[in-house]
């Protein structure tokens, strides 16, 4: 528990984390607002084919904030400090204090999960209010199961970013790959046009939890994404356990 508190405190004292919060809280709302504005006329006329996606599209595309959270949580540990303060890594200190590596990772992952859940709730609030503000009475009702799906999707995304960063130790690769993949030109989306197997990729399967026209049912989608997170975590724990701290 104390390790968990320590991880929370470390996370909140990172300068980059505020960027993550800012992006996480507002980008989905902005994307949803733009999309709603573009579709407003069709929706009012009752001919929109994408009514069920309104708002959720923002939550599906606006995951950059949560990605930054997951990546920063790990990459900040491996950042080399300036030579004035000894040129060390935070990870050496962290592992001196919490010597069980498994407990260290568990505490960190829990901290990321808790913040991820809170951030996704904030994002849902801003997105729903943005959609309601623009569409007024035409705004679709947001159902609880789908919103829970969004929370799961966001949290799993944070944990995926977290797991990948443990393997790479450097924030550049996971940030680039995940941000590009959350964009309009997503690689996994292109792949899904080529092969059915792409529907089992974590982001596509996971988005089935709240996007309606999915390949999987919401439950299987969530399960597939969770399986990715679980497998990645097992690999990350093993690698982290065996690796020399400083290397």
């Amino acid at each position: 528990m104390r390790a968990f508190n320590a991880e929370l405190s470390k996370l909140f004292s990172l300068p980059g984390i505020w960027l993550a919060f800012l992006i996480g809280a507002f980008v989905p709302a902005v994307i949803a607002a733009l999309d709603s504005t573009a579709q407003k006329e069709e929706i009012i006329a009752g001919v929109s084919t994408r009514l069920s996606e309104v708002g959720y599209i923002g939550l599906a595309l606006g995951v950059q904030g949560i990605i930054i959270l997951g990546v920063l949580a790990v990459s900040s540990e491996y950042l080399t400090e300036s030579s004035e303060s000894g040129g060390g890594n935070q990870i050496t200190t962290s592992l001196t204090v919490v010597s069980s590596r498994f407990h260290f990772l568990l505490a960190k992952a829990s901290a990321v999960t808790v913040i991820g859940i809170l951030l996704s709730i904030v994002a849902i609030l801003t997105t729903v209010s943005a959609t309601n503000l623009i569409l007024g009475e035409y705004a679709p009702a947001f159902e609880a199961p789908k919103l829970i799906g969004v929370v799961c999707y966001w949290t799993f995304t944070a944990l995926l970013a977290f797991g990948i960063t443990i393997l790479t130790k450097n924030g550049i690769i996971p940030l680039t790959v995940l941000i590009i993949n959350s964009s309009v030109v997503a690689v996994s989306y292109l792949l899904s046009k080529v092969t059915k197997l792409a529907f089992y990729l974590p982001d596509i399967a996971g988005s089935n939890m709240f996007m309606s026209d999915g390949f999987h049912t919401p439950f299987t989608g969530g399960l597939i994404m969770f399986a990715w997170v679980a497998v990645l975590f097992i690999i990350a724990v093993i690698v982290f356990h065996r690796r020399d701290v400083a290397s």
Binding site: L19, A38, S82, I172, L175, T176
Partner: protein, 252 residues
Amino acid sequence: MSVSSSRKTTRILSAELDKLITMPLIWRTFVATFIINLVLTAAFTSASLQGAADTKSVLNIGLASMIYLQAGFIILGILATCSEYTGGQVQTTLTTIPWRGLQLISKHLALAVFTFPAALVITASGVLYTVLMMQDTVAGIGINTMIQTVVGAAGYLTVTTLLSAAVGALLRRTTPALVVLLGYYFIVSPLMSDFLPRVHNYFPDAAGAYMYMETFSNEVKVLTPMQGTGIAVGWTLIFMAIAIVFYRKRDA
């Protein structure tokens, strides 16, 4: 020791170039970008191998991966300037070169000297691969158009790299710089081209795209290649100027 000013400039430039090419991460980024680009080009080529092709479509397919490719060059630019701030290299740099504006300009120049050939190799390899794979179906290839386009694409990537380097120098930390730039190029820019297409044409990436799209794209063109180049270079110079002003004022 007194050195003439032209000698001084060459020395600074060679020092910056030296720092750049001895950075392992730079080479790893370059090699990774090269390989990923070839894989993507191969995927795009095999996807469109059916049907007849002409020079236009060869260039279109060979450069289809440009949107992903620029991510590698954004990283390159950020690494070049942000690496100074990990471990306090910047203090050593400024002790030996106490002229901050000159130092940062030389850094950008050195980066351009490194990036342009690298970008040329990567874009040319992509186009060459497509040509080789599609030579049975290609009717006739205009070599001149091809060279023009590849050089334009390499120029665009170089300008993007310099812009990223300027933003990196401004923000000084890799992660925020990466988030800001990737967020712009991959999230904001596509949204803008949907919702504000006319304004979007004057932003660095859309304007820069005219540097190489002229010959093969079927989209409506608002700018000529020269205008596109001018706007993209202008943006880069503005960001560089801001970076230099901050660099001179700020505590290192």
